[in-house]
Symmetry: C2
Subunit: 471 residues, 2 copies
């Protein structure tokens, strides 16, 4: 295994090499598809487990809806079909025959789920209905990049129906806050939560909230969204309930999703010249033990096994690498894979109380007596350090601009987020994108009530908005 191309030299090449050499994924035979290899999929399983806990504790239940959606379903909500039509994969033949109506391979499940919701919801007693599913979806994307944008990806999509607008508004915020907290606590990622502008909102939503993550190259990544669907779908799909006052009303709906794209965020936010750096809470292997063998391996390997069993007993995800590769090869291999801690055990460590521990995040070696407290303490410290580093980086890279000229200069020279007052206007946004390559990422919640003169149109009533180049 050759050393990977340093990120500082060529990020595109670095990214591809990290994905392949860290064995996160491989390219599939169909353009734009990837194979999630065991190491990459294990990260996804840890994300699923953590997020599932939060989803279920909010009273949302998991279910599974069919992959195939009749084309006519998508057409029921005008904006929705307009948004998705260019990206659809169509099944036209089944069982050797041409189908009467083509089937859409789900790009998202609003329409097929709400067809069922209309059957299941009759009265206020049936509300709120809160359902989530973990599945695969297909969008025929032109430009693809492993994890970030693919023909097929894995995600969860939550869909809820409520009796009142207020309840639905609240659920939209609960979901986006859940994502924000989850990626902070588990993935050591800082994100900015806000509203999408008209141009960037979901096709079929009244409004969309998002959490945006700034990556090391200064580009932003939309990492998950939570939509207020209002009564747009309930009117198209006739999802009505008999309210307490005896009146028939349409439900208020939300939908929210986070996908395997977040693994792309992990790579691009934390990775360094040497490869991945994984936060311990989401690392399939938290500690790797590498024996440094000079003469007879027996005693060293035995000591390694002892440490491995100890760590496993403390609930740490540990791997002992006894393959016949050299220590140097192994160091490089596990560094590319981003394993948070490496314990090195050689002849010297047989007598000493302490072992050498290498911290992947800081690239530092230290000596340590192995104990539950010491190892867990170090893992916690790595987790906290990665978050601090990413938060500091993100905050440092939010720069204010009050004119279009200033904004352009920042996008060109500094990258990162540019914070401006902006009056939402789809035509203006198209022009800004054409001229700068940047798009409106979000209207941060924390500034949602502040207004000022729009940096572009010079009109009053602009809202605080972050622009950035994005993936």
């Amino acid at each position: 295994m050759a050393r990977i191309t340093p990120r500082s030299q060529n990020q595109a090449k670095w990214y591809q090499e990290v994905v392949l050499q860290a064995e996160l994924a491989d390219y599939g035979p169909v353009r734009g598809t990837i194979v999630y290899r065991p190491y990459g999929y294990a990260i996804w399983e840890l994300i699923q487990a953590g997020l599932n806990k939060r989803i279920k504790s909010a009273g949302v239940e998991n279910a599974y809806f069919p992959l195939f959606i009749p084309y006519s379903f998508l057409e029921k909500e005008k904006q929705h079909v307009q948004g998705f039509a260019p990206e659809l994969a169509l099944v036209t033949h089944g069982g050797g025959k041409k189908l009467e109506e083509p089937l859409v391979v789900r790009p998202t499940s609003e329409t097929i789920m709400y067809h069922s919701f209309a059957k299941w919801i009759q009265s206020y007693n049936d509300l709120p209905l809160m359902i989530n599913q973990w599945n695969n979806v297909v969008r025929w994307e032109k430009r693809t990049l492993p994890f970030i944008r693919g023909l097929e990806f894995l995600w969860q999509e939550g869909h809820t129906a409520h009796a009142t607008k207020a309840e639905a508004d609240k659920e939209v915020m609960r979901a986006v806050d859940m994502y924000h907290d989850f990626v902070r606590d588990q993935l050591a990622l800082y994100s900015v939560v806000g509203y999408k502008t008209e141009t960037e909102k979901f096709s079929g939503a009244d409004y969309t909230t998002t959490f945006e993550i700034l990556l090391k190259d200064g580009k932003a990544l939309q990492s998950g969204t939570s939509h207020m669907l209002g009564q747009n779908f309930s009117r198209s799909f006739k999802i009505q309930f008999l309210d307490k006052d005896g009146k028939l009303r349409y439900v208020w709906q939300t939908s929210w999703g986070m996908s395997t794209r977040i693994i792309g965020a992990l790579i691009l936010a934390h990775g360094d010249d040497k490869g991945l750096r994984l936060p311990p809470k989401i690392a399939p292997i938290q500690v790797v033990i590498v024996p440094i063998i000079k003469g007879d391996p027996t005693a060293v390997v035995e000591k390694c096994r002892k440490i491995k069993d100890q760590l496993a007993g403390w609930g740490i995800r540990v791997k002992l690498d006894v393959s016949d590769k050299t220590p140097g090869y192994k160091f490089n291999y596990w560094e590319v894979k981003g394993v948070p801690l490496r314990i090195e055990v050689g002849e010297r460590e047989l007598k000493a109380r302490e072992v050498v521990v290498y911290r992947r995040d800081k690239g530092e070696r230290l000596k340590l007596a192995v104990s539950e407290k010491a190892i867990n303490g170090l893992l916690d410290d790595v987790q906290a350090s990665l978050l601090k580093e990413h938060r500091d980086f993100s905050r440092r890279n939010i720069r204010q601009a009050s004119s279009f000229e200033e904004m352009k200069k920042i996008i060109k020279e500094d990258k990162g987020f540019v914070k401006v007052f902006y009056k939402d206007n789809p035509e203006a946004e198209t022009k800004i994108k054409e001229e700068t390559g940047a798009t409106a990422r979000c209207i941060p919640l924390e500034y949602k009530d502040q207004t000022g003169v729009c940096f572009y149109s010079r009109q009053k009533g602009g809202r605080v908005t972050l622009f950035a180049k994005a993936y």
Copy 2:
């Protein structure tokens, strides 16, 4: 909610009503598809969790491969494409354009996985390679029945590659034994493990093993299979490794899968006139508490909550039903859903140490002081009883026949398995099926070395084979 049609009266109607009224599933808009509702999906999640543990502890890693397979991949293995061609769903358009080559929506993943295996496997160091995936697959079935046979179903498919035939043979058996043990221990289902005949084996396998479950109506259900693929796919996909002796060899492969069909087995093996009967280990709700309210509900509901918190604290999956329905309605509702135990709490129970507990499996009421030991003991007893009942039933319904006349009589009058000596012969099997409706279910492992005169051809060398009508 109306009472369901008793099973003894009309099983087809009963099955449909149980599926819908127990809220396990609903019909999807596309023929042959179903929606896995939260209650049904929760059973699947419990199955996944339990089986995943066994799969991982065998050293098999989870991964995820793309949904879409180029048509040409399937054609690489002749038997494989012949077997699956009539059942394929084809994507012909993507992103608004006609595709150059149609894509198959995976009916199973051998071909796409082995395309990757050929890249990943270079030397004996890379073996064994053992990968599993949980996903959705599509088969364009003509006759469909919820859970049992559908256009789309959920499953896991394990795929392994080994250096030697002996290792692969062993893995085939490990997998089928794992299924057999799992459904016995968790789902309280007795199954017969054996080989498939030539007619019934997997398209592309050297041989197939299966575990067959006898349902209450006397029909058998193939509930999962484990295949020895030999070198059929490794030759077509050029999966070669450099062996220790420096020679290039083709790997030996296995694949094995169990699907949501097993939920159909649960329903049809354990269900009774009143609906589902779920084994506690796989029941999303193990205990339901129903307050019996006459006057002021406060005290009774408080007592119920206390019991609920106690049970939850002991790790029991418990539900308190405080909806405004009548106790009679609730009893029926939770009986259809097959909840193993129901605790009834009324005014009387406020003073008494004991509560009334209803056992769904035996339809018996008993009095009991609530304690961790008492409730867990009862749940264990329900689990054991259901298994015993199903095992006794299955064994009682294996009948021997030494001639075709005898066999026909049993199939017609008694149903169940007919145990015969049978000399494997695809033409004979077609005729037997035409005349009796029964098929060869398996050659049980426990009798694999016994031979005798074939019940059909009267030739020597027949092997012990079970025939039955099957789903």
